[in-house]
């Protein structure tokens, strides 16, 4: 697929950057003319992926998180969230609803929500090396004046 636009950003795994990440992606995605539901879904999916990196990749330290957003022809938004933290020993187990190693402050529903709100989700991880989450969503094309 041909890329028509992209942004790359990098930030520290501070929880105060969760809001920055989702708002930045929402602003970038706005050029696809998403509905309010679509923009809400994108913000939520970004928030979940970035929170996972903050909580699970770097539990005892601050580390680097990279977020790349690309727009492909056909109104497709791709998001790649990458960290260089601890990694996930068992990705399939981590993707199960309600599974969490984050204690009572986490619900274990992050991956379930990402899967539900985006069209495609892939998770690649190596223990000690880090995790890359890739999500894609096709934004519906609305007829002019249909807002």
């Amino acid at each position: 697929m041909k890329t028509s636009n992209y942004i790359n950003m990098e930030f520290l795994s501070r929880s105060s950057n969760e809001a920055f990440a989702r708002v930045a992606v929402a602003c970038f995605a706005a050029q696809l003319d998403p509905t309010l539901d679509e923009i809400g879904d994108i913000k939520t999916a970004v928030s979940e992926a970035v929170t996972n990196a903050i909580v699970h990749a770097y539990p005892d330290e601050l580390g680097k998180i990279s977020l790349k957003a690309r727009i492909y022809e056909g109104n497709v938004l791709e998001l790649v969230i990458k960290d260089w933290g601890r990694g996930i020993p068992d990705v399939e187990q981590a993707r199960q609803p309600l599974f969490t190693t984050g204690g009572e402050e986490r619900s274990g529903m992050g991956f379930t929500i990402m899967e539900s709100f985006m069209d495609r989700l892939s998770v690649r991880s190596r223990v000690g090396k880090g995790t890359t989450v890739t999500m894609r969503k096709r934004i519906s094309v609305r007829a002019t004046g249909a807002k």
Binding site: S15, S47, E105, S107, G110, T112
Partner: protein, 101 residues
């Protein structure tokens, strides 16, 4: 995230406003638990009408509230859920566990 608290008899109403993400959730949970400990309510109502964004951190808060109220032998109700937060709750199937009005 701000929480406003009203207690009438043994009914505790907590009105949440602002963004409820992981960054805000710890403080929100602490405030909620302090309010529950002080009121020891028979009924807890969480009004999400002022929540401008919520992710799964909000689910963890609701499940914590449910556990606390079960321990007290009381009830939990969640009301005025904005559309974005409702989509998160629906995706997680939380309406099977918690009464949402």
């Amino acid at each position: 995230m701000e929480i406003r608290e009203k207690t009438v008899d043994r009914n505790l109403l907590l009105e949440l406003s602002g963004e409820l993400d992981h960054h805000a959730a710890r403080k929100a949970m602490e405030e909620m638990e302090m309010a529950i400990d002080a009121a020891v309510p028979l009924k807890l109502v969480l009004d999400l009408g002022g929540v401008t964004f919520m992710d799964s951190s909000g689910i963890a808060l609701l499940l914590r509230a449910r556990r606390r109220m079960e321990a007290l032998g009381g009830n939990l109700m969640v009301c005025h859920v904005p559309d974005q937060a409702r989509r998160v709750l629906d995706a997680a199937g939380i309406n099977r566990l918690i009464t949402i009005r």
